[in-house]
């Protein structure tokens, strides 16, 4: 044993392995067991709490919707410079036509309009209007092709031209009334090389008909967009002489004819829909928000906005968030302060009364906890409104004239009164449990040494109760800063918090990105304050009891 132990300077266990590693192994097993025990809770918290919050916060930078809905436009727009004062080139408008056409078929354009409207008001209506009109824009080509040859009118001949032979055979064999799925469209190979744009658009069209609308491709006439793509393909005169498949004669005929076709001037067509398409800020907004990730939401939540020349401050009548953050912090501080003022004497009474009376009082303190929050808030409405209990009493006592009743609700006062009441127990309980541990003999000792009542309280009792104040204040302040339902009900327009704004963006305007950014800032703010508190007061000085 001793030989072994000194073998290479290591202690060995009875089984001859190094003591250190067996010890480690034993410890590791213990740790794993402990981890397994808490695993259900940990996984539960991760899945139901941390993950959704992280997902929600991620939305504050996410911005794929622009490049997903307008992929061609954003690409074409990348080189454009708005500072020159010129609107984008016709190619960009052409791309916009294609993107807009597909987006309105998929009904995605209004969603993107709402998204960009957060940045520049007016875009939502612009997109809605354009979505309604874009279908007619390319019809010029459709009509000309159809006038040229009936071949272009029919969905069947289109399918024969575009579809692969294998798919056409499958499609012919498919029984529409049966439950089996429609065979997925497959492109004829030669066509892809000859008419690249037509092929790409037709594939999108076929995919949409088959998978989104779940209709039979054989009965659906192609979009006007397909015709304008065909025009674009043919006008450059591709070499189609080698092609001998279906429709080769018609293609040759069409290629000869397109040169004399009436064309569509896309920039003018869009201007006709709405002159805003020729306004630089609209295009700058689209360009600025093309990347997949954006700092725009965070800038918005501090009253700034992205511009081509970097972040700028919003005009004064659009600034609200900084004001709301300050208001939220200020009112939370006032509420915390009034909770201390009201809660301290109650906690002192509780801690110093005989047990039976103290228990009764304690039940009174806890009673509001067992009442629904909504009931308590609504009760305050009844109490505080102009024709309410408080005002009626004051008028009856003659303290207030009947025609100048106090405005106690639907403003800041209402929020502060109601929230102080609702959060009071969170102040009293930690105070009480700290005061309970201060021996009464200290006060008696101070007095017997000649201190006045005040000095004994201020120099001896109060310093010992500070940890309770600290704990209560943190609880109340952090709860207050994120409070939502009470300010919403009694706060009117001047007594609402930033959380009401977050709720508005979550449930009404559906600007979840901005809501997430505001939430993230609020979270960071609370953490920063907690950190500052720890630095100044020291978190060790916080006690929730004994």
């Amino acid at each position: 044993m001793t030989d072994a132990a000194q073998d290479n300077g290591q202690m060995l266990a009875a089984d001859g392995k190094p003591l250190k590693s067996s010890l480690n192994r034993a410890l590791r097993r213990q740790k794993l067991r402990a981890l397994a025990l808490i695993a259900p809770l940990l996984i539960f918290v991760l899945i139901t709490f941390i993950a959704p919050i992280a997902d929600m916060l991620f939305r504050s930078v996410e911005n794929q919707i622009v490049s997903d809905t307008l992929p061609r436009t954003t690409e074409a727009l990348a080189d454009w410079d708005g500072d020159t004062g010129e609107i984008p080139s016709p190619e960009v408008f052409k791309a916009l036509y294609t993107d807009m056409f597909i987006a309105q078929e998929r009904k995605l354009h209004t969603r993107l309009g709402s998204r960009l409207n957060y940045e520049l008001t007016g875009i939502s209506s612009l997109f809605r209007k354009s979505g309604r009109r874009v279908e007619d824009m390319g019809e010029v080509y459709q009509d000309q092709f159809e006038d040229l040859n009936d071949f272009w009118k029919d969905s069947e001949t289109w399918n024969a031209l575009m579809g692969s032979d294998a798919w056409l055979a499958e499609q012919a064999a498919w029984d529409e009334t049966s439950d089996s799925r429609q065979p997925q469209f497959e492109l004829r190979e030669e066509i892809e090389g000859l008419l690249p744009q037509t092929a790409a658009t037709f594939e999108i069209f076929a995919d949409f008909v088959q998978n989104d609308d779940e209709d039979n491709l054989a009965n659906e006439d192609p979009w006007a967009l397909v015709y304008s793509a065909l025009y674009d393909d043919l006008i450059v005169e591709p070499d189609i002489s080698g092609y001998a498949g279906p429709g080769s004669a018609e293609l040759l005929e069409a290629m000869a004819a397109v040169r004399s076709f009436e064309t569509v001037d896309y920039p003018a067509a869009f201007e006709e829909v709405d002159e805003d398409w020729h306004s630089i800020p609209v295009w700058q907004t689209i360009q600025t928000y093309s990347p997949d990730f954006t700092s725009g939401y965070f800038l918005n939540s501090v009253d700034m906005k992205k511009s081509p020349d970097g972040p700028v401050i919003r005009p004064e009548d659009e600034q609200i968030y900084i004001k709301l953050f300050i208001r939220t912090l200020f009112m939370s501080l006032v509420i915390t302060g009034s909770c201390i003022l009201l809660g301290y004497p109650v906690a002192w009474l509780l801690a110093n009364l005989p047990a039976r009376t103290a228990n009764l009082l304690m039940i009174l303190v806890l009673l509001p906890f067992w009442t629904s929050l909504l009931v308590r808030t609504s009760a305050w409405k009844v109490m505080l409104q102009q024709q309410g209990v408080v005002n009626d009493t004051l008028v009856w006592l003659g303290l207030v004239a009947d025609d100048s009743r106090l405005a106690l609700i639907n403003n800041q006062t209402g929020t502060i009164i109601a929230m102080t009441h609702i959060l009071l127990p969170f102040m009293i309980l930690p105070l009480y449990s700290v005061m309970k541990t201060i021996p009464p003999s200290y006060l008696r000792a101070a007095k017997s040494l000649g201190a006045t009542n005040w000095t004994a309280f201020w120099r001896v009792y109060f310093p010992q109760s500070v940890p309770g104040i600290g704990a209560g204040s943190i609880l109340v302040f952090i709860l207050a800063i994120g409070y939502y339902i009470t300010p919403e009900l009694v706060g009117g327009t001047t007594g609402t918090f930033i959380s009401n704004r977050i709720a508005y963006h979550i449930s009404s305007s559906l600007n979840w990105g901005l809501a997430a950014a505001l939430g993230a800032i609020l979270l960071a703010l609370v953490l920063a304050l907690y950190w500052a508190y720890d630095k100044i007061v020291g978190i060790d000085n916080v006690k929730l009891g004994g």
Binding site: N117, T121, S124, S125, I320, S507, S508
Partner: protein, 370 residues
């Protein structure tokens, strides 16, 4: 070993039952979303109760229509549609239809024809403002005032423009926490001609003008977010006058005997009706369609007018409107379309609002916070 088995079995059971309920829809349930209060009550009595009696299907009421569009978007995004049928205003119905959140409907195929055989699309006529929209009622947003708070010798308020007259009618006002109707009234009462209101409101200056007019009464105004809240404010005497829907005012005045009077001038006509959320599973869709066929026929629409003073959307229902079901009073004088009430009326331009709602909503909310 045995314990493990029992544990496993009970876990499996819990998970299975959890999944059964997670869908939220038992085989014989339907969630219908509406506006709550007196309006939901009239639907309950005219549509839901007879339908439940007839079929045994249980109808669950959800009073979320004020946030209807937002929640439909959220449900579609989450891929979990929990609503079966939603009651929305016309402008909102157009919006959800544009965004593909609601199902397009062939009105003649889905809805019952009039008793004389007129197809539904003709019976509803112009009221079908969108392919997704099944009209139910014509309602108006108008003003109610406290009769006991009108000073002696002062003529009681007549309509929307009196809300801006703080001198003659001091006291708090109640307005909807939404731009619709408020902005139009502001412009009308600022001297803009009726025909020009929407043209003016389309411009930046016009919007600023409307907000400036609203600014004059902002600190005297309590903004309500549900119609029931507006009635509560009036009933408590918290506000002197408030905008709200005429049927709610009718119920407060006639059914509850509140000292409230109607101020009809420049009442705003609007439509309300059903939309079916897109992508409902087939079994639920079949149930909804069966309900719709029943609840929107001529008799049922006329029945609703027995409980609330909204005009039925079918032409064929109008002659069937009679007296209030419980009070026995004639309903016609309380209808927004009654000539003496309709001296000056305003028709909500739904399509205009569908386009400009997002823009003006965000402006209005920012204005509220300023």
């Amino acid at each position: 070993m045995k314990l493990t088995k029992t544990l496993l079995a009970s876990t499996a059971l819990t998970v299975a039952s959890g999944m059964a309920f997670a869908d939220g829809h038992m085989a014989s349930e339907m969630t219908i979303v509406s506006w709550g209060g007196a309006y939901s009550n009239s639907q309950q009595k005219a549509y839901h109760d007879p339908y439940m009696e007839k079929t045994g299907i249980n109808i669950i009421n959800d009073e979320s229509s004020p946030e209807g569009v937002a929640k439909m978007r959220a449900q579609a995004e989450a891929g979990n549609i929990t609503w079966d049928l939603v009651d929305l205003e016309a402008a909102d119905a157009i919006r959800v239809c544009d965004e593909g959140l609601a199902m397009e409907i062939d009105h003649d195929e889905v809805l019952a024809p009039a008793p004389d055989g007129t197809p539904a699309s003709e019976d509803f006529g112009d009221m079908i403002v969108s392919d997704c929209f099944i009209p139910q009622i014509v309602f108006s947003t108008t003003f109610g005032y406290r009769t006991d708070q009108v000073a002696d010798g002062v003529e009681p308020p007549k309509g929307a423009c009196d809300v801006f007259d703080l001198e003659t009618y001091p006291g708090k006002r109640g307005l909807n926490k939404q731009p619709i109707a408020n902005l139009e009234w502001a412009l009308l009462c600022d001297g803009v001609a009726y025909e020009d209101v929407y043209d003016v409101l389309e411009t930046e200056e016009g919007q600023d003008r409307a907000f400036a007019k609203l600014d004059t009464i902002k600190d005297q105004t309590i903004f309500w977010s549900s119609a029931a809240e507006a009635i509560q404010l009036l009933a408590d005497g918290e506000v002197f006058m408030s905008s709200t829907y005429n049927g709610r005012l009718f119920s407060a005045i006639e059914e509850q005997g509140q000292p409230i009077g109607m101020a009809w001038d420049w009442q705003m006509f609007d439509l309300d009706g059903w939309v079916v959320p897109a992508d409902l599973p087939e079994d639920r869709l079949a149930r909804v369609m069966d309900y719709l066929y029943f609840a929107t026929d001529t008799q049922r629409l006329a029945d609703q007018a027995k409980y609330i003073s909204y005009g039925p959307a079918r032409a064929s229902s109008a002659p069937l409107v009679s007296t209030h079901a419980e009070l026995g009073i004639d309903m016609a004088p309380h209808m927004p379309t009654e000539p003496s009430n309709a001296e000056n009326t305003f028709v909500n331009n739904y399509t205009w609002w569908a386009d400009y709602r997002d823009d003006l909503d965000s402006k209005f909310q920012a204005w509220l916070t300023q």
